[in-house]
Symmetry: C2
Subunit: 347 residues, 2 copies
């Protein structure tokens, strides 16, 4: 297994180190190569993602990213020039974001009923296409447009992936989130494709929810969701909420997948680089470790993936929630649990 | 005061009746005219909003709407043909949505710290402009686009309104919600205009939050928000969440305002027509009553508006939360409180 690692900025390198520690327990032969992309490189060389680096990244089986970003970099530079560019160049059309309320974790909701959902967010089109412009800038008559681009090709592949995932889960339930009553063109395309693909998956029950109504459901009745499929921007918004109600982005993992495997997929914790706590051992590496679990699952190492997730679940259920320990201590615990082949408490 | 009333479908007529009962206590001379727009009219005549009705609506000081919609009407018909058409025809550029956690109300969050915010949502452009299309429909090469249209004119008037509201509130704080790191064109326009208008309001502190991060804040630290200004679609999404965390859309009121007063503004509870509970006296008219408070405030009757809100606050603090009473009983209580000139418990 050849892994490209982008530790990134702030707490990125710290959480990645622990994630690799845990990976080492299940795939001791994994080869890793570090790439110093992020705020530091941009500051020193002005580079975001040189073609040569992109070419090298393509030679790997997968990419693990810590976090990039720093308040000294103007907003949008790293996002568009590095993170989104990677998603688009490597055709990461499925942005996978599981949200599970693990036993022992207290989320912000008073009624902590079970939450175990996965959002399949489209990753390469929609309002993220970069399609738009400014007309008559800096005048009273300025117009700014943003074009959401949705293709049958792009929607079908992510919807198909979502149905496949739903079919493999016990509840076999899929919810399309959109805003079909207002965005009639994109809404029509998404609805028709969900209907079409559903014919090939008669065992999967299908629901639809407007994205605004889903906000309410996520805080009052989140257990209704199993697999959720949605567009790039709605997915961005809804996954921060699904992460928040399951204990926060500090625990949320994500995968940017090229389902065809033509390009390496990329795995990253949803949290940012948190420069305010960087270098102090305060960061929780759990989301990075869970991202490794997603990585292994994607590469077909299902058993190792499950073992890591079970170790995280065990640790979350038994840790001192108020002071879970330093970054490396949590990593050590998780590595020990993984190597001891802990009996899964959660499945 | 000449009021156009659109009772609408489902529980709409029931909650409107109570809202008018309460209005009668403070403005006994209000003249009301009913307009039977909604699902029933569409079913019997195919009409959504005839020009003649629109012309009559324009002759009023304000419009009170209950709720429209019915499962027998295909999604989008009433939304685009009636609700959004009214907003666009009557230039309702400020969509005002206060969210306040009233004492006594239990929201879904475990930590019920104070929430008292108001979202100023743009109402006449953005992704709601209806601008987009389908190309190569029903083929493998289909493309659906949705264009978010943002004008300096449209953004400035709503940002100006938001600053005015922030300045009039004790905390004088304004947050712009957007997704400037991805939607660079619209994000640039919104950011520049907020910056410009802020120069005229030195007392107002200004913050920015990405819309996805705001999802997290709204469930973990909602008290950070005072006035929020945002675009039409982000506003749609965020106001369902702000309503949810303050006790649900059953309590949420909204105003669709033409700030210039060239057209009547429209006030409506955020909840829908809830056909499943219609006609049983189960609907809570509180959101409709609060909409009347917004209506009076908009028409300059600040004292009456405050009296109604204070009555609602008193009722919410003292009612039996599990069984607050039948629709008309709640209306009777609120009317009695308003007429007794209840001492405000909340301000
Ligand atoms: C950093 C930003 C570009 C990114 C996005 O909008 O997709 C982030 O919010 C995420 O969800 O991964
Ligand atoms: C019914 C629908 C068109 C409407 C909207 O999207 O604005 C509703 O969700 C709202 O928030 O008032």
């Amino acid at each position: 297994m050849r892994l490209a690692v982008i530790p990134g900025d702030g707490i990125g390198p710290e959480v990645v180190a622990e994630a690799l520690k845990v990976l080492g327990e299940v795939v001791p032969t994994a080869e890793t190569t570090n790439y110093d992309l992020g705020a530091a490189r941009w500051h020193s060389t002005g580079e975001l993602l040189p073609e040569s680096v992109l070419g090298e990244l393509r030679q790997h089986d997968a990419i693990l990213l810590g976090a990039v970003g720093d308040p000294t970099v103007p907003s949008g530079i790293l996002e568009r020039g590095l993170l989104l560019r990677l998603r688009f160049e490597l055709d990461h059309h499925v942005n996978l974001r599981p949200a599970r309320l693990y036993p022992g974790v207290r989320g912000p909701l008073a009624d902590s009923s079970e939450i175990d959902m996965v959002v399949v967010r489209e990753g390469t089109e929609g309002p993220y296409a970069g399609n738009g412009g400014l007309l008559r800038k800096d005048t009273e008559h300025e117009i700014a447009t943003e074009v959401s681009v949705n293709t049958a090709f792009g929607v079908r592949r992510v919807v198909t992936d979502a149905f496949n995932r739903a079919e493999a889960r016990p509840r076999k339930h899929l919810t399309l989130l959109h805003k079909t009553n207002v965005l009639e063109y994109a809404g029509s395309l998404w609805s028709r494709i969900v209907e079409e693909v559903s014919l090939e998956h008669p065992e999967v029950t299908v629901a639809y929810s407007h994205v605004d109504a889903a906000m309410i459901h996520l805080v009052t009745d989140p257990s209704r969701f199993d697999v959720v499929v949605t567009d790039n921007l709605f997915g961005d918004i809804v996954t921060d909420l699904s992460a928040a109600v399951t204990g926060g982005i500090g625990l949320a993992a994500s995968g940017n997948l090229d389902i065809t495997r033509r390009n390496p997929s990329m795995f990253e914790p949803v949290h940012g680089s948190a420069p305010d706590i960087a270098g102090q051992g305060l960061a929780d590496p759990t989301a990075a470790v869970l991202s490794v679990s997603l990585l292994l699952d994607h590469l077909g190492q299902k058993e190792s993936a499950r073992r890591i997730e079970a170790s995280v679940a065990f640790d979350l259920a038994t840790r001192d929630q108020a002071s879970p320990g330093a970054t490396h201590a949590i990593g050590d615990r998780l590595a020990a649990l993984v190597s001891s082949n802990v009996r899964p408490v959660t499945q």
